[in-house]
Symmetry: C2
Amino acid sequence: MHTWKQFDRNVITHSAAHHLMAIDTLMHEHGYARVSDVARLLEITRGSVSISLKPLKAEGLVEQDENRFIRLSERGQRLVDILRARHYIIKKFMTAVLGVGEERAEIDGCKIEHLLSAETSERLTALLRFIDSGAESADRFIEEFHRFNEACLHDAQACPSCQDQCLYDLASQKLQDAVAEK
Amino acid sequence: MHTWKQFDRNVITHSAAHHLMAIDTLMHEHGYARVSDVARLLEITRGSVSISLKPLKAEGLVEQDENRFIRLSERGQRLVDILRARHYIIKKFMTAVLGVGEERAEIDGCKIEHLLSAETSERLTALLRFIDSGAESADRFIEEFHRFNEACLHDAQACPSCQDQCLYDLASQKLQDAVAEK
DNA sequence: ACAAACTGTTATATAATTAAAACACTTGCC
DNA sequence: GGCAAGTGTTTTAATTATATAACAGTTTGT
């Protein structure tokens, strides 16, 4: 069980990912980005942005010119492109395949886009490519899955997917309901 | 863009989830759990465990008897059961559907099991139930998808899944390769 | 029964992410 | 030209997750 120690050492933090993506968004929308613009977009203080940007500048992902305008370095841009691609496929998988609501998919996607491995992201992209391929088996799968949904007996013994408890009942519970007094 | 502020305020932290699951593991393996046992299992110091446990005791997820033996409260147990169910379905989806390697699926699963919404977890469980149902369309989908994999032309224009850049090329890159000097 | 080993807690420290407030500098308007 | 508004940084502070080290108490072995 040494795996769990890796789980914090992620390549970039959630916060860093969003700072980088905010710069990218601003560059596309206004052609420039400053500390204040990022702060406004992320709804945090300028001081926080200034401090958060420091390690990103040190790592060469973000650059600042003589007028203190911010831009992404080439590597920073590449990182953002990867993150956006992953966000897109995760969200699309959740909505188009799983049938999760748009807003929920957006939030869940943001939480995990920077955490998934390249391997998982690659396989997820392959899945979506297959679904988009127009293959008859893909279309039928999606259609039948979306019709399937109702028939859970909530009986672990009778269920080929369950072990001792109904997975459906367990997995679908909200964590906050379990944490909060009830 | 108020969504992104929610992304940190998760119901439980990664660390808390693993402390709770460690207690559960120890209870199953030895019938009891103490601070030292948790520390050994997670490979952190007893001091760290003692401190991490404090908020969990305060929230009533963990209890400690007069001999300082630790156990999960009813709510703590419920939380662990939910987390384990989610971990299981995420990992199973990654291996059985996506074809991700076992070890990678374990790590990725650990990173996100406590972050996904109930809605997404529920839909993911439904997907696995459909695949386990033996429906012919499910079997064919998996089989054909696993054979499909090769044919990416890496040409965004010709690809029904891509926009301006090849999603496959982007999403499958390792983040650390983008961050590290190259 | 006593020393060695182990246990749990606390104190102190570090790093990350954020906030608020204070400061200095720049810009824009009248 | 001068003041109000905006901008970026720094300082101070809080929280979370961890570490080490010191301490006090409990077991264990002989």
